[in-house]
Each structure stands twice: as C-alpha cells, then as structure tokens.
Symmetry: C2
Subunit: 354 residues, 2 copies
Amino acid sequence: MADVAERAGVSASTVSRTLRGYASVSAEVRERVERAARELNFAISRQAASLVTGKTGVVAVLVPILNSWFVGSALEGLGPVLRAAGLELVVYYVPDMAARADFFERLPARRNADALLVFSFDLTEEESARLDDLQMPVIYVSQHAEGRASVYVDDVAGALGGTRHLLNLGHRRIGFLRAIGVSGFTFSSNERLTGYRKALTEAGVPLDDDLVVGAVLGQDRTVVEAVGRLLSLQQPPTALFVEQDELAVAVLSTLRTSGFDVPERLSVLGFDDHDIARWAGLSTIAQSPTDIGRAAGELACALIETPDADRERHIVLPTHLIPRASTAPLMPPSATPEESRGAASDRGGTASGA
Amino acid sequence: MADVAERAGVSASTVSRTLRGYASVSAEVRERVERAARELNFAISRQAASLVTGKTGVVAVLVPILNSWFVGSALEGLGPVLRAAGLELVVYYVPDMAARADFFERLPARRNADALLVFSFDLTEEESARLDDLQMPVIYVSQHAEGRASVYVDDVAGALGGTRHLLNLGHRRIGFLRAIGVSGFTFSSNERLTGYRKALTEAGVPLDDDLVVGAVLGQDRTVVEAVGRLLSLQQPPTALFVEQDELAVAVLSTLRTSGFDVPERLSVLGFDDHDIARWAGLSTIAQSPTDIGRAAGELACALIETPDADRERHIVLPTHLIPRASTAPLMPPSATPEESRGAASDRGGTASGA
DNA sequence: TGAGTGCGTGACAGCGCTGTCATGAATCCC
DNA sequence: GGGATTCATGACAGCGCTGTCACGCACTCA
C-alpha cells in the first residue's frame, strides 16, 4: 500500500480511504490512486485489514458432505449473497467423527470468521454450547435449532400437502417410510411424520402404526425389508410417502425390479425434489436448497451488520408438490394393471442397475 | 494471547512457540500453556499470524459450479489433504460472466491465499496471464494447461480403452457423441476423441466422420437430433461412445422413450462414472474426481512448501472401464431383439421422466 | 576451574493495514 | 472582514501475532 501511496503522491491513509470507497476523497486524487493501484496490481490484504477492524470478511460453513445435491445447491444460493456483501466463503468439511472432534476441540473458526453456518449436523448439546460462545452469529441450516437462528423448510406443511395429494387421489391406506439416520447427522425429520399424521387425521383416516416403517439410506437391504413388511400387511398400502427422494428412488428401484407396477399398484411420493427425482419420474414435495442457502446468507449478513439483532430468528421456507409419474389415482381392485401398462412405462421407467 | 501468557506465567513468545508445537519448550511449561489456552478458549488469529509469516494458511479454489458431482467429489478429496496440512479452504464461486470478470479484475485471492486451484474453466490467455503473476502456485484441475501445473485423467487412454471394449464386443460401426461446451467452461475434450480414433485405427476400422456428432448438455433437442442423425445413416452405428455420462443418460432416455432397445440395437458407453451412471445402468469409463481433488491438494501443498519446485508439473490419473447393462456383444442382424428382452429390462431400465 | 556449548525463555520490533486526531485550506455567514 | 465551519488530507499509534536476538542457566570437557 505504501507503494501505491508513493506512486499516487498521497499518504497511505488516503489510499485506504479511496480503495474502500469513502466519499471524502477528491475526484482527482481518487483517480490517481485508482490508477496507481491498478498499475501495481495492488489488492488489499484482508489479513492486515481484519487485524485492525476486527472483522474477518469471512463466512464459514460447516458441512458433513460436499458431493451432495442439497449442500451443493445451498452453497450455490449462498455464494452470490456473500459476494454481494464482499464476504468470502470458507468451508470446514467435517466428514467423520475424528474431524468433527477436532473441529469442536480447536474451533478453528473462532476469530477467523464473522459468522458460521452449520449444515445438517445433529449436534450434541455440548457441541452447540461450544458454538454458542464462539462470539459470532451461528446459523443452523436445514434444521430446527431451539433458541438459535435457523433456516429450514416447513416440513410439517410439506408432508401435510403431500399426504393430502395422495388422499385426493383416493388413497386411504397410505404408508410412510422414514429415513433412519446415520448417527451424527440430521436426516430424519419428525416433522414430516407429523404432517403425514395431521393430514390423515383431518381426513378422518385412522392412523395405523404398521404403515410406518423405516429404512437406512444406502443400505438397500433395509429398503427391501421395509417394503416387504408393508406389502405383506393384511391391508397393504396403495400409496407410500417416503421421507426423502433418494430413499424413494431406492424404493422405486426395488419395486420395479420385482415387477411391482408403480404407480398402478402403489403410488410413491418423495420429499426434496432431488435431481434424481426428475430422472426417476418421482412425484415429490419440492424444497429449494438454493433458497435455503440464500436465506441463510442474508440472515448471516444481517446478523453481522447488527450484532444486537434477534439471534434466535427462524426462517421457514415453503415447499410445493411436484406431481410426476409415480403417483396416480387409486385403481379399483378389479381393474387389471396390464391395460394401462404402455402409458405407464412411457412415463415412469426408472433405474434398477447396480 | 497475552491473557494466556499471563495465566500460564510465561511470555507471549513462549505461548506462540508452544501452540505451534515447537520442540524447545519444556514439558512443564507446555502443560501450563496448553491448560491456560484451553481454559480461556483461545484460538490463534490467522490474520495476525499471517501478517508476519506472509503465509495465509489458505488454499483457494475457483469453481464455476458447486452443485455438481465432479466438483463436489473433488472437494471431498481435497478437504482432508488440506486439513492434514493445517490449511483452510476458501471457495470462489464464479457462476457467470459478471462474477468472472469481477474475479479477474480484482483478483481477491492475491495475498489472501497460498495457492489457487482452478476447476474446469476455459480461460483466455489473458486470464491465465493474470493468474500467472498472482505470486502463488496456481494448479489447473481437470484440464490440460500447457506450461502450468495441472491434474487430470488420461482421457486418451480412457477413450482408447472404452473404444477397445466396444470393438471387443464385436462392434465395428461405433459412433462418437461429443459434448458441445457452454462457452467459458471446459466440458469438451479433444483427447477423448483422439483416443477413440486411435482405437479404431489400431483395429483397422476406417474412420468415418459421419459417425462423430455433437450435442449440448441440458438441451435435449440437440441430443435427439444427434441420435437421429446417426440412426438415419445408411450404415448406422451399433455402438455409441458418449463423451460424458450425463449426456449418455440423456441418450439412453431418448432411445428408450422411443422404444429403441439398449443395448440390443445400440450399445451405449459413457465416460466419467457419474452417480447417475449407476442409476441408469450405464457402462462407462470411470474417473475418480476424489482422487483428482486429493492429488491437486497434495500438489498444492508441495508447491507451497517448496516455492522453487517444478511449477509445470502435470499429474495424470488413470481411468478404468465399468461394464454395466448398456453395452452388449454385437447381435447378428437375424436375431430378434425380443428374445432377450426380459433379461435386459432387469438390467438396464432407465429414467425417461420429465 | 574456566571457557565453551546448548537449551529454554523473554524482550522487542514490525508485518500492512485502519481509526483517530491534527492540520491547513477553502468556504460560509453575520 | 474575521471567526466559525467544513472538507480533504496526513501523521501516527496499534491491532495480535512471529522472528530474531540476547540472556541466563546447566552442563561438558580440557
């Protein structure tokens, strides 16, 4: 910066003021400084600046995964917000328990970021407490964190609407497949189950716990077992609400491999509107991770700006139904599935490989 | 840090030495300092440290997209390498031309990172030159950058092997579908075409430019047209090598929607081993973005360590064939596709929805 | 025993910025 | 016209750390 000041024939203070866009710099000096800075390829050192301002100009995110539709999309929503605010994005990628223990032990974000966004971690109370005294805004993304700022979709309303869709199609026996989480991450959501139950109740359909089963994402055996349990009920479901698209696609794959027609014999509805839902022709309740990321970024900026703002703000985003080929009106038992087969395979073919 | 020093009854210098793991600290003092640091929840300010060391402790990545199998996986490979080296990851997400112009204008990474990894950008010579005088190692990921450090897979060998696979299955009329890139990004790869041609030549199969067509990812119309062009040749191909899995899946979708059996009437081979290749039962040439990310991270660390090292190092990673259901031996024209239909639909069903 | 060696520690400057205050010039108003 | 006000700019301290150097002590060896 001294070089720029010398070249422009002004003091370092003036260079600093100019480059940060302060008004009280004459047009002529501003011009000289800007030219000098450009010629010398000068860029301000954030390190030095933040040392004195106390602001790092950084927003940190804590993520358990990166190769993921949800996290990727959320970061894409977040990025432009941060750039507009002149903030940089640092990623703490914490894929396993060892990395996680290390993160909470050292808390590297302390003093090295202005805000922290926590993605989809199922934190212990102790871990949350560690974050609480981080002396920066901490925003929980895609999870309900009591007493802390968070951004998430309205799971209850989404599941309510999805279940209503199945009810409107004439279904009365509607199963619910829960995602059993890998420990440490928030995958499962009680709220979605709540919405499902709410819709059934308001429609006067009795709740039946036999219709609620669970499976583990990535463990196809558990999916096969869960589906088998439903299909072997005395009154098997004619529709199935699956808590997550990825799990729902595994269900579709299982059913179709075994020649069980979807949606003729079983309507399947997912939740998320994951990319693969489109490929698989899966009807689903869409959430927009991009919007979540954007909202989280805006909340972060707001909390950085006004440190005394409401730190327990919750932002709840909407969902909406995307009907595709995997849900259809309830067929009377008499109708033979065959007669609608051609049309169905046009709409609803899906993967079964590997 | 002064607080810690006071609490431990030592000087700031000693605290600094202790926390950075220098050997010349007595066990007793080390113990006292570490306890004090823990009790005060102290974390070193990177800002202040880097101001004096000149190292930022940061590796920056420049990416055009985040919600992507390739970038996500590569970052997952990169993350642990950086953490092991005590480096942080900052992401410059540059999704459009405006953001890109801004990035190259301001070069925010200058002085704010120790190395820069550039992902899949088709840079102009001017832009590359800007990066050259960034005074830090710049590593090009998933692209061949002449005279600059880069990490990529051996596209020629991969395409050679893939084409040999099709030749080994008895195919002689083998089409090649190129990915026509969105301007500004490296999607298309001449190397893959080279490998394809090399395999045909070594097998004594004449090259036929009519068999090489192009399509734009995401524009399904162009896929339909390209496939149509191939199928309307006087001697249509019996196998098709598609430069990218995502495009290949679009091809599968197009073919299956129109009732054209894969692999009975046309074998389809992709390149990448994208997640959807597994879903779609697509045979493909696998590359590992995780390995690419890891290698890029290790190269970055090496170049940061030894600034006078070979800055033009190229790391070329291998690929391998993953045979799935979309490639099959050439059928004699007399055989009716029907007789193998049941088995095929077990293996090779794919998406056609939306 | 005294010079030499090595080790653990402290004092202090300074990294590159920004915020504060001082300064001088220009402008204003009664 | 002279004091008050405003504005553009400069001087300087100091943010929190690290690197250098000096120091003192314990130990070694001739």
